[in-house]
């Protein structure tokens, strides 16, 4: 039987975390503004490079002269969401430094609420540039309403997957910063080899093999395929493996994140401050 009271109290806790995080983040507004500007720098170079590459060839796999701008705007939104990963260690690290962490950690709430609170507050803060770039994509290549919902669903799933990763790095920021730095570096490598803003086809063979082993590549590729196909059913049926990876990561990573968070915090507690 559904316990509505429990659901309500969990939602209230998530809301409290979102409200607190947003207030803490907008205290110094420039940091938020630069959160929006930074991804532009990240996609600007690929945008220029790709423009030049299309003078030599009309197509690189899925990427064409007609759609590469849309793919770069999608990449901008992925970079915006990528900030969620760093938000977890960033926020938990700040709370450790501010010494507010003990008050938070002895509060009786489920760590999923912490995950969702940080995730949704970040989503709220990046919502305006995200929507702007989504609309830009739509202007260049319009898509149907079911595809819009499908693409937003994938973005949402990616954000949740990133939250799971963020929570894992976050707990090590609290308990063992060495491991946190190692994980952050490993994640940077994974992102580097995930074809966020370049087509898979332009990379040399050895890198293509590495990229093929990277689950994030399939998830990001699904976004681009979904946009070009403009039919969620065709996208899913013709790309079952990327869709399977997306669903698997979506279910497993937040759960693994919470599990590791609880285990590590229970064993090591707050270390280093």
């Amino acid at each position: 039987m559904i316990n509505f009271n429990a659901i309500r109290s969990n939602l209230l806790q998530i809301y409290a975390i979102i409200e607190k995080n947003i207030k803490l983040n907008i205290r110094f507004k420039y940091s938020i503004i630069f959160t929006f500007i930074n991804p532009i720098i990240w996609v600007l170079m690929p945008l220029i490079v790709m423009g030049q590459l299309f003078e030599f060839s009309d197509q690189f796999g899925l990427w064409t002269v007609e759609n590469y701008l849309v793919f770069q705007f999608i990449a901008y939104n992925i970079y915006l969401l990528k900030d969620i990963v760093s938000e977890f260690p960033g926020q938990l690290g700040r709370e450790k430094f501010w010494k507010t962490l003990p008050a938070l950690m002895i509060a009786p709430f489920n760590r999923f609420n912490l995950l969702l609170g940080i995730f949704l507050s970040r989503l709220f803060l990046i919502s305006i540039p995200f929507v702007v770039f989504f609309i830009l994509c739509y202007i260049f290549i319009p898509i149907s309403i079911p595809t819009i919902l499908f693409i937003i669903g994938i973005f949402f799933a990616i954000a949740l997957i990133f939250s799971g990763m963020g929570l894992i790095i976050g707990v090590f920021t609290i308990s063992n910063e060495n491991i946190a730095n190692f994980l952050s570096f490993s994640l940077a490598l994974i992102f580097w080899a995930s074809c966020i803003s370049y087509p898979f086809e332009i990379f040399p063979g050895i890198l293509q093999t590495i990229i093929n082993l990277n689950p994030l590549y399939y998830i990001f590729e699904l976004l681009r395929i979904g946009w070009v196909d403009n039919n969620p059913l065709i996208t899913i049926s013709s790309n079952p493996f990327p869709f399977f990876i997306l669903i698997t990561c979506l279910i497993s990573l937040p759960c693994i994140g919470v599990l590791i968070f609880n285990r590590v915090f229970k064993k090591y507690g707050i270390v280093g401050y």
């Binding site: 109290s9 209230l12 806790q13 809301y15 409290a16 975390i17 409200e19 607190k20 207030k23 803490l24 205290r27 501010w98 010494k99 507010t100 003990p102 008050a103 950690m105 002895i106 509060a107 009786p108 709430f109 229970k266 064993k267 507690g269 707050i270």
Partner: protein
């Protein structure tokens, strides 16, 4: 007979030193029991294990061995239940400086599902004299105000047991007195750790002394003071530093210790019966004032630790 609300069983915590170069025994098989409703003080020097004890009892830290029962729940098996029962105030105020005082209180009230929190926040802020400051960023608060706000937060959450780790550290006399008076009238179990003997003496029903992770003495205030009763402390106020008097006093076997102060000396007599011998010496000098000093917890602390 009051029921035990906190019980520890061979509670031990070992910290490993960097590079495997030994260990620090922060808590060494500590067995304590605290009654419901009592204000219990844990006294000890820096590094004695006080904060470790509080962190373990509030589930922030896992013991290396042993366990504790807090309000009927094992801290290792039912940490969530324990969290629902305890309130914690550390020497760091654990406040978000970048948001307002009101937002700080509101956040924790929402997390703990406190009903009608808006009214409660204003009522409590009024009691603590913080109402005019509630909508200011905490970074603008003085240390005393921050501590008051931290206490406000802890009390708003209505915990059954209050853990206070050095709640008056760095505060002026006025703020300290305010916090002491507030805590005195709480009518709930308080577990207090402090260096400040004055605070502990004024507040606590029972006191334990901890040193190097071990409880070295435990008892109620009067029992502990009785331990010191055979020793008499006498304060001598002189109009000038009298080296001759000090020399003569140090030669006496009935005097345990002479401490030089700004105004003269504090002398520890072995027994009350030696007053007569002391006065026969003092008669030869110009003494402004002679006063017997009441034995304090601080004296006992200095003797034990």
């Amino acid at each position: 007979m009051a029921e035990n609300i906190i019980e520890t069983f061979d509670l031990t915590k070992i910290y490993k030193l960097k590079g495997g170069k030994g260990e620090i025994l922060a808590l060494d098989k500590v067995n304590l029991s605290i009654n419901e409703g009592e204000i219990f003080g844990l006294l000890g020097p820096n590094g004695a294990g006080k904060t470790t004890m509080v962190q373990i009892l509030t589930t922030l830290l896992q013991p290396t061995s042993g366990y504790a029962i807090v309000d009927g729940y094992n801290i290792l098996k039912k940490p969530k239940h324990v969290k629902n029962k305890v309130g914690l105030m550390l020497e760091s105020d654990m406040l978000y400086y970048r948001i307002t005082g009101y937002d700080n209180l509101k956040f924790f009230c929402q997390i703990y599902h406190i009903p009608n929190y808006k009214d409660k926040i204003h009522k409590m802020a009024d009691e603590f004299g913080l109402n005019n400051w509630l909508n200011q960023y905490v970074e603008h608060f003085s240390s005393g105000m921050k501590m008051k706000l931290a206490l406000c937060r802890t009390l708003l959450l209505d915990p059954k047991i209050l853990f206070l780790d050095e709640p008056t550290l760095g505060l002026d006399v006025k703020s300290t007195t305010f916090i002491i008076n507030k805590l005195k009238n709480l009518n709930r179990t308080v577990f207090l750790t402090s260096h400040n003997m004055n605070v502990v003496e004024k507040l606590c029903n029972r006191i334990a002394f901890i040193n190097k992770g071990k409880i070295v003495k435990i008892g109620n205030k009067n029992e502990l003071k009785k331990l010191m009763q055979s020793e008499i402390k006498v304060e001598l106020e002189l109009n000038e530093n009298n080296g001759q008097l000090k020399y003569e006093l140090t030669q006496q076997e009935f005097i345990n210790e002479i401490i030089e102060t700004d105004f003269g000396f504090i002398i520890s007599l072995k027994e009350r019966e030696y007053y007569k011998d002391l006065f026969s010496i003092l008669r030869k000098y110009t003494i402004l004032k002679v006063k017997e000093r009441e034995t304090s917890i601080e004296d006992l602390f200095l003797k034990i630790i």
